[in-house]
Amino acid sequence: MSFTIGTREILAEPRPLPSKTVRYLVPVLSLIVGLMIGAVILLASGHDPIAAYKEVANRGFLGELPMIGTLVIATPLILTGLAAVVAFRMKIWNIGAEGQLIIGAVAASGVGLALGEHLPGWIVIVLSLLAGVAGGAFWAALAALPRAYLNTDEVISTLMLNFVALSIMNYLIFSSVSFWRDAERLTFPSGRFIADTAFLPRFWGRLHIGIFIAIGAAVLLWWILRSTKWGFEIEVTGDSGRAAAYAGIGVNRKIVSVLVVSGGLAGLAGGLEIGGVMHNLDPRALSLGVGFTGIVVAAVARLSPIGVILVAILVAGLNNSGVGLQTMGIPDDIVLLLEGIFFLCVVGGEWFLRNTIRIGVAGQPVGERSVP
């Protein structure tokens, strides 16, 4: 790739292996660039950037209440982020975490409702979380099997299954008197509550133990990807499907297993939302795009499971500080504009990470000067 400005020819070449310094410096630099552009926009629209950034810190992170709120929001984000990580590592583009989360929540609340009154609480908790995992895994399998054996495009199938899942959930609560719906509540339809013995235990304000499950899942996934045959096979297949087939790795089965695990993680997020936050099936609280945000989280974390924890907490904290920013009078639209710039910076940073830039005189061989 090259283009010419005046007599200067600017050439970009793939950088074979970014050095450690570059790998850590580039994201930091792109963040700072994003911050500065953000500050300019805030200033231009008549807002004090320092005050805004302070508000983000104070309302999203610093202090007990902000941290509790942030961690509660972060819990499902970590899991949908992990769902994206495990699939994207193998270049399987699961963008159906949203639907998998929903089906996981439907399954988890179904089990919670069916068993809640009859079994000890902790058994119900375990079974309903497992049901969440199974629900998400099943929903992913609906896209995985055709992908593996008929080579259908998983981007389209997982995306479409999101809408199917949403319709199913809406049907269960809004359009029918289903097992999930509380027929007594007539002012506005909502789901029946699971037995309170089946609520996930809370240990700090509203913060439920789901955060530990999510972090545990991240650490476990990190270890699995790094140290097991399964993880190794994902690495090989993600790098080159042909090399994987050559090495005797059953690529089709790998695709299915990876999508099922990915869906299971998203389904677990749905299960935790039911057991820890809502305690009933509420379509309005489960269709917030947590599945899609997980993709962003995974991308910003560069597909590192441990990075996902950090990025998810940051994203959740920002979300949590949104109330504070709005009360400061910063409108949503400005914030959307800032978001666009931020993504550009991140993507741009990635590009600089993979390419070196060389500037030469047009029409002449390019020298060795390199601008990192």
Binding site: K229, R242, Y246, G248, G250
Partner: protein, 497 residues
């Protein structure tokens, strides 16, 4: 074109090639794989810039800096891989890139023009059909029509028959002749002697990037062309004969489909014995890749049987074949033989990570992987990288050493090696050959598939020649002379007695 020189990464793909083309002729460009045919054409088509030499059209020097510039000078090329937009119709594809085409062009007018062209040159294509609906042969016609529509006078066809059925090829030849009769000049690139004899007026033979000669087709015969093409002195390097033992890899009636759905491997019988290297010679595209893939489990077998050490592995998975001791050195080193983004250490354990000592249960021991990598790097003298860096940073010779190190360290009973020394320098070639011979002497049955005759002759204890998926001849190295090999590779049966 005079004195065309072009180097890639230190190797000269064209070395001072002179080439002249006359209006109204079909000029065949003949040569083995890697002889420099495609490079020469790409330079003429503006895709590459020559490092030396000049190009004259109608006596005037021209500089063809891009395919676009080449088109301005009336030079157009049909590549082996078509460059059509799938979602567009035939007519839209043909209009695409045409200087007069605007978005306002009436599609009906366009379709009429296309139909006119296609009937004139006897190249039937449905002008309003989408490209995604077309067969490969039809796509090729669209490529040619596209160039004709742009008024191309010098047309380059790069191995145009490789993707065609014999029927389609015959039609193409008729089209080529009628274009030449109109005064256009056509360069026809091929390595198939029969086609060259059939369609061309003159032939230029390239070998190792150099021009061997140009002669009128009427003065040429297949045997002389074959000799020019293969050319080099086929003297036997001094080496010890193998001591063949029991049959290890036995193949009977093997038939497999290629990617396009034709049968690419047809009714192949082979018997490779322990301690023997069997060389499979042939011009590329005659079923070599498919044969290797069918034997190693990467391609389904349509008919026939494959036995490894007496076990029927015809339907076995790749993994089962690996476990039974079938090694494979693939033609495509980075991408198939090695996962290019992964570090060397991991690549070296690609086939052994499943069992102790590299793993216990589901867990892989990173230490054991690294330790094994260190051993192999030492033992096979793999240079230029640390085990933690991606293999894509290795040189070709070291890539091949890495693959062989991994395959050989698995202690294979049989090994399929495809183009094992292609593109390697002399030292690396020597090292790889030594490794293969050592492995043979240890008792492995090696099937070596190569388009490089020298390699086949240097290593094989027995040679078969593959042509259009069939074994067309079997011979001992001492029976091989350039003429015989050339004829066989060009599809002629030869009576060796």
């Amino acid at each position: 074109m005079t004195g065309i020189t072009k180097g890639f990464f230190g190797a000269l793909a064209n070395d001072g090639v002179d080439f002249d083309l006359q209006w109204g002729e079909v000029h065949a460009l003949l040569g083995e794989n890697g002889a420099g045919k495609s490079t020469l054409c790409s330079i003429l088509a503006g895709l590459y810039h020559p490092d030396g030499g000049e190009i004259n059209i109608n006596g005037r020097p021209v500089e063809l800096r891009s395919p676009h510039a080449a088109l301005e000078h009336g030079v157009g090329m049909v590549y082996q891989h078509f460059r059509l937009v799938d979602r567009f119709t035939v007519a839209e594809n043909i209009a695409l890139g045409h200087p007069d085409a605007t978005f306002l062009s009436r599609s009906k007018d366009l379709e009429k023009q296309v139909e006119h062209l296609s009937s004139k040159y006897n190249m039937p294509v449905p002008a309003d059909a989408g490209v995604w609906q077309l067969s490969v042969g039809e796509e090729q016609r669209v490529e040619i029509l596209k160039l004709l529509h742009r008024g191309v006078q010098i047309l380059i066809l790069d191995e145009p028959t490789a993707v065609l059925t014999p029927q389609e090829a015959r039609n193409l030849f008729r089209t080529i002749r009628s274009m030449a009769e109109e005064g256009r000049a056509i360069i026809f690139v091929s390595h198939k002697l029969d086609e060259v004899m059939e369609v061309s007026d003159r032939v230029t033979v390239l070998r190792d990037g150099k021009k061997v000669g140009t002669l009128p087709t009427s003065e040429a015969d297949p045997a002389s062309l074959a000799r020019m093409m293969v050319g080099r002195d086929l003297e036997m390097p001094a080496r010890r004969e193998g001591v063949p033992g029991e049959p290890v890899l036995t193949v009977s009636g093997l038939t497999a489909d290629g990617d396009r759905g034709f049968e690419a491997v047809r009714n192949v019988d082979l018997e490779v014995r322990a301690g023997q290297i069997m060389g499979v010679a042939g011009v590329s595209g005659n079923g070599q890749r498919e044969l290797a893939e069918a034997l190693t489990g990467l391609r389904p077998v349509k008919a026939g049987q494959v036995f490894l050490g007496g076990v029927d592995i015809t339907r076995s998975s790749v993994l089962d074949r690996i476990k039974l001791g079938l090694g494979f050195v693939p033609e495509d080193r980075l991408g198939t033989g090695l996962a290019k983004g992964l570090p060397l250490a991991k690549n070296l354990s690609l086939k052994s990570y499943r069992a102790p000592p590299l793993s216990t249960g589901p867990v892989i021991s990173k230490r054991a992987v690294d330790q094994r990598a260190d051993e192999l790097i030492q033992r096979f003298d793999i240079r230029g990288t640390r085990p933690g860096l991606p293999v894509s940073l290795l040189s070709g010779g070291n890539l091949q050493r890495a693959i062989l190190a991994r395959e050989i360290s698995g202690g294979p009973k049989a090994m399929v090696a495809a183009a094992p020394t292609r593109g390697l320098d002399v030292a690396a070639t020597e090292a790889i050959r030594t490794l293969l011979l050592e492995e043979r002497d240890k008792g492995a049955a090696i099937l070596m598939i190569s388009e490089d005759l020298e390699e086949v002759l240097a290593l094989s204890d027995e040679i078969v020649v593959l042509y259009e998926g069939r074994i067309i001849g079997r011979l001992r190295p001492d029976q091989a002379d350039p003429e015989v090999m050339g004829l066989m590779m060009a599809g002629r049966e030869v009576d060796l007695s």
